[in-house]
Amino acid sequence: MNLPRGALGVLLVAALVVAGLVLPRWLVFLLALALAKGVAVLSVVVLMRAGLVSFGQGLFFAGAAYAAGFAMRWWGIREALLLVPWSVGLAVGLGALAGLLVARYRDIFFAMLTLALSMVLYGVLIKAYGVTGGSDGIRIPTPTLLGLQLSGDDARLVVYYLAVAATAAAAWAVGRYAAAPAGYLAHAVRDNEVRVAYLGAPVSRIVYAAFLLSSGLAGLGGALTALNVGHVDPGLAYWTTSGELVFIAVLGGTGTVLGPLAGAVVYELIRSYAFKYAPYAWQMLVGAAMLLIILFLPGGLWSPVERVWRRAQG
């Protein structure tokens, strides 16, 4: 994560804050969705930096979203500042459990086991109609902030700023993680796991830690999405959700924090239009784009820019 973080980060957050006041409402809503998705994409990126591809981030994404739904439905909690930590906590708990099994595996085993786990959750969400509302899902009423009742446009804006704050926090956390020993070691595990083990570093703990961080980030993305959309349904756990996150991670590249976030915003904008004009060809376009990027721009769409930037810096 080589871009100068501090200054650029503050600038971007400021730009997003201003954007919330200036841009039309529908665009702000779209931006909030994109940021929530961007945080979830970061969860995929954290794993990818350790050489692991997860096709099952939907497990935590949907788990956290439903956690928010249940908290509202059963206990009547509508305070956003309580709901988000509770959902993220639950996602990390799920991650701690799933990680016991999954973090032992690499490559295709890791990918397919995560996929299998998320499809189990999908099956449960569909079938346990009495608890989860089946394929109808759960409606999530407008949250409150610090006990303040919000309505209409105000609520939208508050959720947007919540997403901005959470995204900034997540980006900062991932940046810190990447610069910390655990992050560097995760990257080393990707290059050569056996050597890392021979150097005396605890490989399984490193991978487990990456997995926990990743589940928390995916959970944060899911909780924000739930609050933003006002509705959760089993589709959040479906493989298409997880696959989309992987795609955006490939699109944005795994070398930076901003790449995936920018990728999420661009993706969401394009999708909202493309879906209208080509509903049955959208996945095909996504697949073709992913193929082209993997074969010709393995560092992500961002990578040529990054190269120029680095050359300019000497």
Partner: protein
């Protein structure tokens, strides 16, 4: 006693279906060392090809049992067209890259094929029940079974024996075994690697399409049937050991019987049985029942 018989029959029928849909995945992995996520959509393509041809055949009012042959032709056609195109067009450019990248490439192919099937066959369901009805019912242990289930058993058995014969008894099969063991030495001995790869991929695709075509009469063919299949097939293949044909058979039997037992004894667990079996087997034997240990690269 009766219940045991029912569980055994159910389990065998489900196991034969599992074997049909997963053996191609194992074959491709064994030779190319690539987990082909697009296997699921090749299954779907086979199902659509089979269903649409059977519907056309039946409305034409031709000799009814011929519909079974139509299923076979549909599978062959779908696999032999799609397989080589995918391998020559896309997969071959990824040989030697990281496994994770190869996985993403087959995932991209999967996404593309999912929408291609929607564009070609539309999104409304196909019902190709004619072969299913044709065979009628069989009574075992006081319960009526659709005879079609036993046809599936027969097809799976024939596929398994045919593959075994192909791999162990034909010249090309032995070349394939040599490539599985050591691609570099095989090339040094004059094996045409690309030909082995494209043939294997085509064969694996035909097997996926065969599974799809013979499944079509039992279900309504709708978009999205490919995903569950790839997850199931992966579970089966992992339980048996990736790349092993015997393993695919053993994994299919184990999962089929356990699932049938769960359906009759503990229905709550039905959804999880496959994953529980997979997790249990992997905890004891991380490479599956028939998996071979590979040297670690330092």
């Amino acid at each position: 006693m009766n219940q045991l018989l029912i569980i055994a029959v159910d389990g065998l029928v489900f196991a034969s279906w599992l074997f049909l849909v997963s053996v191609g995945l194992s074959l491709i992995y064994g030779v190319l060392r690539i987990l082909n996520i697009a296997h699921g959509s090749l299954f779907a393509v086979g199902a659509y090809a089979g269903a649409s041809l059977v519907v056309a055949y039946s409305t034409a009012g031709l000799w009814a049992p011929g519909a079974l042959g139509v299923l076979l032709v549909a599978a062959l056609a779908a696999g032999l067209v799609a397989g080589p195109v995918i391998e020559r067009g896309i997969i071959r450019w990824t040989y030697g890259r990281e496994p994770v990248m190869q996985l993403l490439v087959t995932f991209s192919v999967f996404l593309i094929l999912e929408d291609l099937t929607k564009l070609v066959w539309g999104v409304s369901p196909y019902y190709a029940y004619q072969p299913y009805q044709l065979l009628g019912q069989v009574r075992i242990g006081g319960i009526d079974y659709p005879a079609y289930s036993f046809l599936l058993l027969l097809v799976a058995a024939l596929t398994g024996v045919g593959l075994w014969w192909f791999v162990r008894r034909t010249r090309f099969g032995r070349v394939v075994v040599a490539v599985i063991h050591d691609p570099e030495i095989s090339v040094a001995m004059g094996v045409n690697l690309s030909r082995v790869y494209v043939t294997t991929f085509a064969l694996g695709s035909v097997l996926a399409a065969l599974g799809g075509a013979f499944t079509a009469p039992m279900i309504s063919v709708v978009p999205g049937i490919g995903v569950e299949v790839i997850v199931l097939a992966f579970a089966v293949v992992v339980v048996g050991g990736l790349g092993s044909l015997e393993g695919a058979a053993a994994g299919a039997l184990l999962i089929g019987l356990v699932r049938a037992a769960a359906v009759h004894l503990l229905p709550v667990l039905e959804l999880f049985t496959i994953y529980l079996v997979m997790a249990a087997v992997l905890l004891v034997r991380p490479l599956g029942l028939f998996g071979r240990v590979e040297a670690r690269r330092i």
